[in-house]
Structure formats: C-alpha cells, structure tokens
Symmetry: C2
Subunit: 329 residues, 2 copies
C-alpha cells in the first residue's frame, strides 16, 4: 500500500481504544489519517484510554456505544472515508454466561453501525474484524473460508450473524464491505488482566509477574498473529477494491501446540508453566486444533504474516514491561 | 403418535395465538393436553385472541413478550413437559426495514426462552419452528438440510442464529431440542390482512373480496404445506426421541409455480389475478425457486404431507368465509 493512501483521510475505528483497534488507530495516525475512535469502554472488553495516550489530542475519542448511535457518532459515520469495525465482544466464556449481553454488544451494535452507513454514508469502505470462532471445531485442517460455519458458543453464533449483516448490506444496499476472520492475535495493548482476549493474555501477565501459568492440556494446535501483521491485513483490505464483498482468513506463520507456545514464553521470561487437565465446562466450548489457510488473502492482496511467534512474543513482553501501568487489574 | 401421548401433559406454545401456534394449541387441546399460550400479540405479527375463541377458558393465554420473561412465564416454562417455540417475527420485508426490531423479536426472545429452560426446566422437550429462509437462494433443488445457509435477508440471518442457539443449548446444556424448517405454510388462521405471512395470505383475502390479486412474475416454483400437516410434523418431532438434536425440512406434496398456485385460487374463487413485474426492491431479497427435500423426516419419523394444495386451499377458503370477522384490517 502506498503511504499516501490514508493521508488526510477521515477514518473511524470502532473499538479503537481496544487491543487491535488502538494499534490500528496509532498506525493510521502515523500514515496521516484523521482518526476518530468510538469505544464504549465496557470494563470487561478491551477498551482503555491509556492505549491511545501516545497520540494525545491527535485522535478524537467518542466514548459511546454504537447501538445508541448518537448524533455525534452518526456524524462521524457520515464523514468517514473508511470505517474499521472492531467494537465487539469476543469472550467465548462470557457469551455463554450472559448470552443476551453478547447479542447486544455484537449484533445490536453491528446493525446500528450498518444502518447508520446505509442512511448517512453508503460509500464508506467498511472493514469488519470477525473471528475464526465462526467455524467451530474444524472438520479438516487447514481451515479455508469455505469451511462450514458450526459455532460452538454464543459468541460464534453472533459473529456469524454480524458477518451475514455485512454481506447482506453489501449485496442489497451496495455498501463496500470486507471481512477478516482473525485467529489468535497477540501483542502490545492486548488485554492481559484476564483471559478474555485469548489465554495468551493471562499467560503473559502471569509470566511477567513470575507466577507459573496454567496450560489446559496443551496438545491443541493453533496459529497466532502478531498484531502488527493483523493491522497490515486490515489496511490492505481497506484499500484493495478486489477485497470488497469478500471474507478472508488471517493465519499464523506456522502451527504451534499450546505446549510449544508455553515453552517459548517460559524461555523468554524464565517463568515456568503447569500442564493441567482441561476443565469440563470450558472443554464443552473448545474448538480443538485449529489453523487457518490464508491463501486467499495472500494470493489476492499479497498479505502474509511477517512476524514469528517468538519475535512477536518478545516484542509484546518488552511492551508490557515498559507499560506496566496498563495492565493493573 | 398415540393419542394418549399428550393427555394431561403441560404444553407451552409460544406464539400460540398466531397462525400455526393457534392451530397447534387447538390440536393439543383436542389431544387432552393442558395448554398455555404465550403471545405478545405484536400487531404486525400473527397473534389474535380470536384464533383461540373456540377453546374458551380451556387454554390459558399469557400476553407477554418472551424477552421480558416474567415470573408467570418462567413458571410456565418450569412446569412444561413440552414447549413449542413459534413466537417469531417472520416477515422478510419488515426485517430489512427494521432490522433491530427483527433482532429483538427473534434472537432476544429465543435466547430468553432458552435461558429460562436452562435455569428452570432443562428436561422439557423444545420444538422450534424455523424456516426455509435460512437457505437463501437454493444452489440446487430440492434443498436438503445439508444445503449451505446463505440468507438473503435479515430475518434469515436471525433465524440461523435462533437455530444455532437451540443446537448449542442442546449440545452444551443438554436441552432436548428439535428444529423444523418450514416452507410456505397456509390454512385457517393465517394472517390474510397483508402479505406478512407469505404472499398467499394477501392473495386469499383479495380473492375472497373479489378483488383481482397481483402475482409478481409467477414463474417462481415453490412448495406449500397445509397447516394441519405442519402441526402433525411438530407433534411427531415432539414425541420421537430420535428427533432430538436434529433439524428437519418440511415440504409440500409437489412443486407449483406461483402462476399455477394463482390459477388454483382463481378456479376456487372465480377471482382473477394479474401477472406483474417483480418490484426491484423485493426482488433483491427474493430466493427464486425453492422446494424442499423432506426425506429426513419422512424416513426417520414417518411424516409426509397428506393434503394437496387444492384441498388445503379449499379448506382455508371455507374457514375464512365462515370467519370473516377475523380478517378485518
């Protein structure tokens, strides 16, 4: 992508104070975009104003829930050249405990955003960050975008609905939308106070505190993306016309068992880990082995992950060591 | 099914004052069940207290939205042996105009019901009436249950979510659920004041009033089920253990073009019809040709439709002629 693509462009990032959203907002600002962040700062989610502190007043922050669609927020939608929609609830466990909240945060918020686009700005490019969770337990590996959607938790059901909304508004109302299905993403500004943004968050905090971290079983094989690679993908999707109307898997540089991932973290921090049996209630919504084929986005948009797990994990650890104030419970 | 199966059983029918719900409630009462109807009587939906007038006080009616889950409603859930969940918004067009309402009526209501079952009565058999709309435009005909789910409107998206909720609560929380995907259903007590429950409703009213009715294109091929056949299927599903955890298509005795269907209605009423071009905004959410394979429910539960379209249409017309007060706008 040319560096001038986002220069002086109006960009709205929903969930922009969260993990991936704040990394994206910072990158967009570096590219010269005029960035507005909309983030409801729900305590159990990833939003944190400190994530954006390096930007100072260079980024406008609207602390408002999408589903209420205030006049201020509607005006931002109306003014945007590009909208990145990352304001979602992603915790599988919370979604099972409080399914109606999950419905609200994912489906109501997404419909409100799409309705605002349809009414006020049907030309804004809209990039939606979905999840591999829509696939459920893979029938075959690697998982490509044609794999059946068989969610194993409420959050997966609502992410499928949110994807369908986007594709429907593209087809019927001609909104230019594109969808990424993210796998385990990690890096600076991820939520590490608990495991709501992957188990890796909790592992990292415990490892940094020198507290042995638990690995449930650990034979599950997964892929991981460093957040900068995910930001690269989202920016490519926003700027390539051929991405419109498409759904793309992201995926990691290679496949790791969780035991291998834990060993890497132990090597980098010196903190030990403990292999535990998988708790039965969590096992019921676990998807087993997963890794994505990202061949579609590689061949069509030229994206591949460029950061190894070890490099990314080292960078994340360095960030959190330098920003300890961000992860106080 | 043995006639004694429902004798003295507690049965809750959500949407039980609506079209299919009221026909089901009346049948269940005839079988000796103790029936409670929960129906929010939303004006744009199918609920109408007059549908149940033949039962008098033999059926308890709770006029309450599921999503609020009052104590009275929760007590009915707790007491039920069987729950038929038919309280849904089904209008494709309304779902596109007011997607957040459709989300509320379909997803919030269904989640509230499932949560109540999980908490108060995880042993009640739960039969959910879904729709062929989850398939979208068929890739191949006839459509069986393995066909991809590619909804063409917001209502289809929400019906997919509602199906997934049921299957998830079966898998994770062990609720005994079974799902029917209905095709065009018609018969006594259908909504005929407008086209919200299939175009057939509007056709029937106009034909009865001697007002030529519009057929949009009319080459679309569809299947139809008379409501008594649908009630038979739902009762079989509720009483056959092998139906639990399964999804079944219902389907018609044969396939008709809409022109053939219109000709049958014209023959039975003497009212002419007019072939019109398909309005563009409606065409965008039309699914084209559709007919179901109902081989799964036929071979597993022994269900087949027993009413031809002509027989069923004649019975529906006779009903509406005798109950003109039910369809005043």
């Amino acid at each position: 992508m040319q560096h001038s693509t986002f220069l002086d462009k109006q960009v709205l990032v929903t969930g922009g104070a969260g993990f991936i959203g704040s990394n994206l907002a910072i990158r967009l600002r570096d590219l010269g975009a005029r960035v507005t962040v909309a983030d409801a700062m729900v305590p159990a989610h990833g939003g944190n104003r400190l994530h954006l502190e390096s930007l100072g007043p260079a980024v406008a922050v609207l602390q408002e829930p999408l589903e209420r669609m205030s006049d201020d927020l509607a005006a931002c939608v109306a003014a945007a050249d590009t909208i990145f929609h990352l304001a979602v609830q992603g915790c599988h466990w919370d979604s099972m405990e409080e399914p109606l909240k999950d419905l609200h945060y994912n489906c109501s918020a997404t419909l409100a955003l799409l309705e605002a686009c349809r009414r006020h700005n049907p030309r804004a490019t809209l990039v939606f960050a979905s999840t591999r969770q829509v696939y459920g337990s893979p029938r075959a590996l690697p998982v490509d975008e044609g794999h059946p959607l068989q969610p194993v938790d409420v959050n997966g059901i609502h992410k499928i609905a949110a994807e369908h909304y986007h594709l429907l508004y593209h087809r019927v109302h001609r909104l230019p939308v594109t969808i990424a299905r993210l796998t385990n993403t990690y890096g600076p500004r991820m939520r590490i106070r608990d495991a709501r943004q992957t188990f890796l968050g909790l592992w990292i905090r415990q490892a940094l505190e020198g507290q042995p971290f638990d690995v449930w079983d650990g034979r599950q094989r997964r892929d991981f993306n460093y957040v900068d690679d995910v930001v690269d993908a989202l920016l490519k999707m926003a700027t390539h016309p051929q991405a419109i109307g498409k759904v793309y898997n992201l995926g990691g540089d290679r496949v790791y068992s969780l035991r291998q991932a834990a060993e890497t973290l132990t090597e980098l921090t010196g903190t030990l880990h403990v292999i535990r049996a998988f708790p039965a209630d969590r096992k019921a919504i676990d998807i087993g082995d997963y890794h994505a084929s990202y061949e579609a986005i590689r061949s069509q948009l030229g994206w591949s992950p460029s950061t190894t797990f070890r490099e990314g994990l080292a960078a994340a650890l360095a960030y959190f060591r330098a920003h300890a104030h961000l992860f106080q419970p």
